[in-house]
């Protein structure tokens, strides 16, 4: 038996959902562990300190999975250490790859966010205006520090060199399984690629109008726009066709179209189809194309008043223009 | 009549004034004469109506015609507007000219009585004699209009006093 592949997991700013997907592999994970050796899994599984990772030998981890976005100076610090320790580094899940939903916070200043989170939410009671500080002296003697908050959210590849990307919020466990399979077998695409089958959600979606029986089925232009709170979509007809803005056409379909199966339009967590650099710009372009007329466009713009948040739901920090700003 | 030297007429300024006063169709008029052909002002024999008035204005004649009272004979019947093939709204042009005249106070004195009435009672047409007439047919001496409401009259005066008409000092 060949030597086991040494893997590490590191969570930056995120919910650990991506790691839950690994756990969701259940017995398959047990099988995989015959070939894998987890040498680092923090902070989700093991309570380790910075130095535990820093003290490992460079390139001693074969494959590192980093999930979550980069928001704190601690994230930057840890990502850089992990990069040094890993032979192959994977941006695991849409937050690490493109910034994720939390990336939308870049549309607000740090001050606005603090005000909202620590002051203005209805359930917050903060009469003394106490906000997190990177360091503070407690009782005049304990010099405590917190990780500092960066001005904006960044993707992993804006901090370190990334070898592979996996989309999804979280990645579907079957997608994770396939990725691990590829790792173990060494059948990896060229460096810098997404680990994906490369096809859109539409390709796996049973509702795709082009897949319907009989050649009379065609995609049609959108004359109305619906929010998911309006009406109940027909479970058999393409949601986009019904006016529900579904991003299935623009999004990697390694999830198997799970949202579509429960009548929810795709919101784009899979990330762009390889070849597309800018998810939001392409989403805008594609939707702008399929809207029938000015009326439908105006309807979309009135129902989704902030288009940046709509089109860049998972991808804002990776956008061409946003990342520069 | 001597030849008119059109190059010396201030066409732009007059046209601009007409537009500002609501005669936005002035540059659209092509002198087809459809408006004139059905205009009561023309039919009654007034000298300055429809297309002729518009031509005068298009060519910068304003001072020359400012005192002409034909425009005040316009019945506002709007038949011209209904048929104008250029959708130039001839009626609006006549009224724009009227407004230009009015703002230079080039109006007949008979126009002042209704204005004073309007300011005083809220009604352009009013006479004390109406009270007896009303009673004779079984009505109250005064209708429920502004004539019987000091508050309504005050509102009317507020609107008029705060308007460009108020600035003309006619009230």
């Amino acid at each position: 038996m060949a030597e086991k592949v040494k893997v590490g997991f590191l969570l930056l700013g995120g919910c650990a959902g991506c790691e839950m997907s690994v756990v969701d592999l259940s017995e398959k994970l047990v099988d995989a562990l015959e070939h894998l050796e987890v040498v680092f899994w923090a902070p989700t599984v093991a309570d380790v300190k910075y130095n535990d990772l820093a003290s490992m030998a460079d390139k001693s981890i074969d494959v590192a999975f980093i999930d979550g976005m980069v928001r704190l100076d601690e994230h930057i610090h840890m990502a850089k250490i992990m990069r040094a320790k890993a032979k192959t580094l994977i941006a695991f899940g849409i937050c690490a790859a493109l910034g994720g939903t939390a990336g939308l916070s870049s549309l607000h200043t740090k001050e606005e966010l603090f005000q909202k989170a620590f002051k203005n939410t209805p359930t917050t009671d903060n009469p003394d205006n106490i906000f997190p500080q990177p360091s503070c002296l407690v009782d005049g003697k304990y010099d405590l520090t917190l990780p500092a908050y960066e001005d904006k959210v960044r993707t992993l590849n804006q901090i370190v060199d990334v070898d592979y990307y996996i989309g999804g919020c979280p990645p579907h466990h079957s997608h994770v399984g396939a990725a691990i399979g590829a790792l173990v077998s060494g059948q990896l695409p060229p460096k810098g690629s997404w680990i994906t089958n490369g096809k859109a959600v539409c390709d796996v979606c049973r509702r795709n109008p082009a897949k319907k029986e009989g050649s009379s089925q065609h995609r049609t232009m959108l004359s109305k726009v619906m929010r998911t709170t309006e009406g109940t979509p027909d479970p058999d007809i393409c949601l986009l066709q019904q006016g529900y803005i579904c991003f299935g056409a623009i999004t990697q379909g390694d999830c198997g179209g799970s949202c579509l199966n429960v009548n929810i339009p795709c919101r784009g967590c899979g990330g762009p189809i390889p070849g597309n650099e800018d998810y939001g710009a392409q989403a805008l372009s594609t939707m702008g194309s399929i809207l029938k007329d000015e009326k439908a466009t105006a309807e979309l713009m009135s129902k989704y008043p902030n288009l940046a948040k709509f089109f860049y739901r998972y991808a804002l920090p990776s956008g061409t223009l946003p990342k520069k700003m | 009549m001597a030849a008119i030297n059109l190059t010396k007429m201030d066409k732009k300024e007059v046209i601009q004034k007409v537009i500002e006063n609501g005669g936005t169709g002035i540059t659209k008029c092509i002198q087809c004469n459809a408006c004139a052909s059905v205009c009561p002002v023309a039919k009654a024999g007034f000298p300055l109506y429809g297309r002729l008035l518009f031509r005068k204005l298009q060519t910068g004649h304003f001072e020359e015609i400012i005192e002409d009272s034909s425009s005040w004979a316009c019945q506002a019947c709007n038949r011209c507007t209904e048929i104008c093939p250029r959708d130039a709204k001839p009626f609006e042009m006549v009224f724009a000219f009227r407004r230009m005249q009015a703002n230079e106070l080039a109006i007949s004195t008979s126009a002042f009585t209704p204005l004073m009435n309007l300011h005083a009672t809220g009604h352009a047409v009013y006479s004390e004699a109406s009270k007896d007439l009303r009673v004779s047919v079984g009505l109250s001496p005064e209708p429920v209009t502004s004539i019987s409401s000091e508050e309504a009259q005050q509102e009317m005066r507020t609107l008029l006093d705060n308007s460009p008409m108020g600035e003309l000092g006619i009230f």
């Binding site: 795709n208 082009a210 995609r219 056409a249 623009i250 372009s285 594609t286 | 459809a34 052909s37 959708d87």
Partner: protein, 670 residues
């Protein structure tokens, strides 16, 4: 690595007088992949072209950038140079430093020079990414379709047929002839319209290369230049045309009554009718929407049997037909019969209609004595409802005073802003014809202005004045109806500067020329567009007046805009000549700057499919059973709308690829 040659043109002093060409040349040399940068007084001259030829020949350059004027005029010239030297002609890019630089920035030489450098850099950036493209060719079906059997369609068909092409001439009415067949005489020569048109109609009807398909409509048009697949719906005539001799007995026997469109509704015809006496082909049809099913017998039902005689009771039309061409017991398909034809080119000659008087509420449209000019045409025609007797419809009295009103619905923003072009002349014609025949008639003509721009036209007009016809400048605003059917025309005489009233017995409205109400869906079938006035839009108003945006489809006659008979015939012959070009070439070139789907990248989302204005995109199944998009190259026009929309970046527009445009953006922001 590309070897880009940059050639900067002085264009005499056009560029050189403003832009520092030397400086631009030097700058070009600093750009990546640029191997040589040269200048010449006139790059498009022979010596200029020679410089490029030599560099290509010497293997020095394999991509060419010429910085000169606009590619819209000069790109073809330089592409030929590349082609001549065996280099793919699409490896060429132009930098427009004259029209968009030196000419507009003559007052800012430094600015113009700086801009020229950037424009050249952008062109070089694109050139570095250019790929060779191959022209493609498809074979042509040597047959033409002419839609519309008026004078335009007839002449186009005849010319195409005489050149040896098979022609299908489709006409929706039972006979060809169009509006010209309805006219009495024609200006400015006053020839009898029927006399000059009928022989030509017969020519078309008997030409061995022309297949006359009257009482037929276009169901669908698919395909592209050289290979159009056309479905023609042959409407059900309910008369067996193989047997019909055109005797007219059925029409005489038919008791139904419906306004006769050929006579502009002035009289009635039966449901069984012959279009007009000189019809080609002269065949009867039964118009089922107006058939009253005499004897309670609908088409396709068996006749009742007479109790007295035991014989079937036939309908009057059946009984009257001596040729046995009418058999109402035969069940027939109301939709008609679809005929498939394949043609290489199409001429659209669908003609026009005149506006109905009901549109003009101020002009007493309800009065029977207010006529459209086309109605008057029928009223004075020897084949018209009165046999040419000039009697007014209201009461059959002979009119003494007539008012003609011009520009009714034309030059009117409530209806049509265009000038209908022929009204002035045909009104003068009608007035002259009437005045010649009835010198006592008092004729008034109300014009906004009289437009007679044609050979012998103004002489024709002044002749009318000489005859004593009253010309009045001023548009009519209204008509009052007087007792006994007379009309008070309220006009204005600009020269008198006074309102005028004319008590007329008859008023004639020169109503505007417009296209038929159902023209839009028809235009969509052919992918043609209409212009602001509602006529078919030509490809270029001056230089491509018979071409359309759809290659292989051409326009003739009033469907493209109002025109008189000589102009219509001239355009028809022009359209025929243009349509004959691809037919005689035998094959047509397909521009390679079109879009293609990379099937490997396509996700089958189908977003592109409904976007294509030419329906060139279809979804096909790949081997794994997944849908994938495919673009029919012969239908693609290369707009790139699908390329922009494709979320899988699977569609490439050759000549305007992603990397080429991105390279230009980078160059311009460098």
């Amino acid at each position: 690595m590309a070897k880009v040659g940059v050639y900067v043109c002085h264009c005499g002093s056009n560029i050189g007088g403003v832009v520092d060409v030397e400086d631009v040349c030097k700058h070009a040399e600093t750009l990546s992949d640029v191997v040589v940068s040269r200048q010449n007084l006139f790059m498009c001259s022979d010596p200029g072209q020679e410089i490029i030829r030599q560099d290509i020949n010497n293997g020095l350059v394999d991509k060419v950038v010429v910085a000169a004027c606009t590619p819209r005029t000069h790109e073809p010239i330089f592409r030929k140079v590349l082609e001549g030297e065996g280099l793919n002609k699409y490896l060429f890019e132009m930098a427009n430093i004259r029209d968009q630089d030196s000419w507009v920035h003559a007052n800012d030489k430094a600015g113009a020079t700086a801009k020229a450098k950037q424009i050249v850099a952008s062109a070089v950036a694109k050139a570095r990414n250019l790929q060779p493209l191959e022209d493609k060719y498809v074979d042509v079906t040597k047959a033409a379709l002419v839609i519309g059997g008026g004078v335009a369609g007839i002449f186009a068909a005849l010319d195409l047929a005489n050149m040896g092409n098979k022609v299908y001439l489709v006409e929706k009415e039972p006979s060809i002839g169009g509006v010209m067949a309805q006219l009495d005489k024609t200006f400015p020569t006053n020839d009898c319209s029927a006399c000059i048109l009928t022989p030509v109609m017969v020519d078309a009807g008997t030409h061995p290369n022309i297949e006359l398909l009257t009482y037929s409509e276009i169901d669908s048009v698919e395909g592209y230049i050289g290979n159009f697949d056309v479905k023609i719906r042959r409407k059900q005539a309910y008369v067996d045309w193989e047997k019909c001799t055109g005797c007219g007995a059925c029409a005489d026997a038919c008791p139904a009554k419906t306004p006769d469109a050929f006579n502009a509704g002035l009289n009635n015809r039966g449901a069984a009718y012959i279009h007009f006496p000189q019809a080609v082909p002269k065949k009867a049809v039964i118009d089922m929407t107006h058939c009253i099913n005499c004897g309670g017998r609908k088409i396709g039902s068996e006749p009742k049997i007479s109790k007295k005689t035991g014989n079937p009771i036939l309908a009057p039309c059946e009984k009257a037909c001596p040729a046995g061409a009418i058999n109402r017991s035969v069940a027939v398909d109301e939709g008609g019969r679809i005929m498939d034809v394949k043609v290489g080119a199409i001429v659209v000659a669908t003609g026009y209609k005149v506006m109905e008087k009901e549109n003009f509420k101020n002009l007493a449209p309800d009065s029977p004595n207010v006529l459209t000019a086309l109605q008057l045409e029928r009223l004075i025609s020897a084949t018209g409802p009165t046999g040419g007797q000039f009697l007014r419809p209201g009461d059959g009295k002979k009119p003494h005073t007539i008012s003609f009103l011009s520009c009714v619905g034309s030059r009117d923003e409530r209806h049509h802003t265009h000038c209908s072009r022929v009204c002035c002349m045909y009104m003068i014609k009608q007035a002259k014809l009437l005045k010649e025949k009835y010198p006592d008639l008092e004729i008034y003509m109300h014009f906004m202005d009289v437009r007679t721009p044609g050979k012998d036209f103004d002489e024709y007009y002044t002749g009318a004045i000489d005859m004593g016809i009253n010309i009045i400048r001023g548009r009519v605003g209204g008509i009052d109806t007087l007792p006994e059917g007379n009309l008070r025309v309220m006009g204005y005489d600009s020269d008198l500067a006074a309102n005028i009233e004319i008590d007329a017995d008859l008023v004639v409205l020169a109503t505007a020329i417009e296209l038929q109400d159902d023209i839009k869906p028809f235009a969509q079938k052919l992918s043609l567009t209409l212009d602001g006035s509602g006529f078919f839009k030509e490809l270029h108003p001056k230089l491509k007046p018979v071409d359309t945006p759809v290659e292989g489809i051409f326009l003739a006659g009033c469907c493209q805009g109002p025109k008189d008979i000589p102009d219509t015939v001239a355009q028809a012959k022009g359209a025929a000549a243009s349509a004959a070009v691809p037919l005689s070439q035998g094959r047509v070139r397909i521009n390679p700057t079109i879009s293609e789907v990379n099937q490997e990248k396509c996700s089958g989302c189908g977003i592109c499919e409904p976007l294509c204005p030419y329906a060139a995109i279809s979804m096909i199944e790949n081997v794994a059973g997944h849908p994938r998009a495919r673009i029919e190259m012969t239908q693609c026009k290369g707009c790139g709308v699908c390329t922009t929309a494709c979320p899988s970046t699977a569609i490439q527009l050759y000549g305007y690829t992603e990397d080429q445009i991105m390279a230009q953006i980078c160059a311009l922001t460098a």
